[in-house]
């Protein structure tokens, strides 16, 4: 059971677009960071078609956040354990 609210899942794909990552690039980064889901699953997580576990959500969020920090923005995507 996940605790990530629905709007946060929705936000993933918008964030991915804002971070100028293609689905393929996001998956590679997710994979590098140790993610275990397939490219298709990650894409489905982004669109909200599948609900990621907290762990998966946080890896995707971190992949996007690292991309944002390359642009000088400070981690705009929330993690599941953010206070």
């Amino acid at each position: 059971m996940t605790t990530v609210p629905e709007h946060a899942v929705d936000a993933l794909d918008r964030a991915r677009t804002d971070a100028q990552l293609t689905h393929g690039e996001l998956f590679l980064r997710y994979f590098e960071l140790g993610g275990m889901s397939s490219a298709l699953q990650v894409e489905a997580f982004c669109y909200g078609a599948l609900e990621p576990s907290d762990h998966d959500h946080d890896i995707i969020a971190h992949a996007i956040n690292e991309r944002f920090s390359e642009f000088g923005q400070n981690h705009p995507i929330a993690y599941s354990d953010d206070p």
Binding site: Q20, L28, F31, I59, H62, S69, E70, F71
Partner: protein, 360 residues
């Protein structure tokens, strides 16, 4: 009569030969391009065969000279030199002289300074480039085409002290062509700071012009570094791949307010040419490139798994708990996950090498 622009047409290309006592004067007019260059080569071969001591190549009427024309000059030199003959270039434009300088041909041929015709349009040269890359190409071909664009831009944009092209590859900006090391460092400083005209142009798909860096407030981290390297003006123009921002062509100058309207038009023309090269070549990443990236990804993934294991041992934590702990550390220290994981793994290796350490 052949209509202009018809494939195979020689257009206004003309070669005329005059002989004096010891010299042959070959006067060329029009475009020396892929189509006309064999004609020029044929004429010059025939002239050299007659054994004059001096061949004067009058290029005052040439409106465009591509790489093939330079090849003709080089081969004429090779044939004349052994017999003690010489080649004199007459009426070459400053632009052509710089091309000759780059290819080293200026040291072997004599160049007469006579009337300088208007400079060749840069667009005409890059058209050849685009023709050469008008099919899906691998990264090496694209990079070398982009390096050529940088070299041409450097020749044409008089106020640029340095030029580079940055591309977004695999979600990261990288410099694929640069006129010198200072320019590469300028780009790298921007990637590292995550700000600067180059980063903004490549990200937002519009031009960013720092007219005078000492008055600049948009990039507080990057600007002092650029000023420190003696740069005072920067013009970054976006490159688009299929309409989306894909990178930037960056022009740097030591002179404040160096880039006027004319330079901005040239920057935009070169950006368009580079964008065309990218779009033509963007049928997908080359297989080798993809393999290299995947190998890299696997290595990073392994380091992260090792770091995760180390934290699990140290803290008695579960896998996901350990992962979250590493992520918290990375975020709070402002480092990437990979950097942090690499250091965690390295710290264990260091401990393992300490004298008196009896762990297995």
């Amino acid at each position: 009569m052949t209509p202009p622009g018809n494939p195979g047409s020689l257009g206004d290309f003309e070669v005329a030969v005059r002989y004096s006592e010891k010299a042959a004067v070959v006067a060329v007019r029009g475009e020396v391009d892929l189509i006309t260059v064999p004609h020029l080569a044929g004429v010059i071969d025939a002239v050299v065969d007659r054994g004059p001591t001096t061949v004067v190549l009058d290029v005052g009427g040439v409106t465009f000279m591509g790489a093939g024309g330079l090849g003709v000059i080089a081969s004429a030199l090779r044939r004349l030199e052994p017999g003690g003959g010489r080649l004199v270039l007459r009426g070459s434009s400053p632009f052509l002289r710089r091309l000759l300088g780059i290819t080293g041909l200026d040291t072997v041929s004599e160049i007469e300074d006579t009337v300088a015709p208007p400079d060749v349009l840069p667009a005409a040269l890059t058209q050849e480039l685009v023709r050469a890359t008008a099919f899906p190409a691998d990264t090496d071909v694209v990079d070398s085409a982009l390096r050529l664009v940088v070299a041409l831009a450097q020749m044409v944009v008089q106020h640029a002290d340095g030029i580079s092209i940055s591309l977004n590859r695999h979600g990261r900006l990288a410099t694929v062509a640069a006129s010198d090391q200072t320019v590469s460092s300028m780009d790298a400083e921007q990637y590292e700071a995550g700000e600067g005209p180059c980063v903004d142009a490549a990200t937002n798909g519009r031009s960013f012009h720092a007219v005078s860096l000492s008055d600049e407030t948009r990039w507080p981290d990057f600007t002092p570094k650029a000023l420190g390297l003696g740069i005072n003006a920067i013009l970054s123009t976006p490159l688009l791949m299929e309409g989306r921002p894909a990178g930037a062509i960056n022009m740097y100058s030591r002179t404040t307010r160096a880039f006027a309207g004319h330079d901005q038009q040239l920057a935009s023309a070169f950006a368009t040419e580079a964008s065309l090269i990218l779009t033509h070549a963007s049928a997908g990443p080359a297989e080798e490139d993809l393999t290299a990236r995947l190998t890299d990804s696997l290595r990073i993934r392994q380091v992260i798994a090792q770091a995760q294991g180390i934290v699990m041992c140290r803290e008695g934590a579960g896998a996901e708990e350990a992962y979250a702990a590493l992520r918290h550390m990375a975020v709070s220290q402002g480092r990437t996950f990979t950097e942090l994981a690499t250091e965690v793994v390295a710290s264990v290796r260091r401990q393992g090498r300490e004298p008196g350490d009896h762990r297995a």
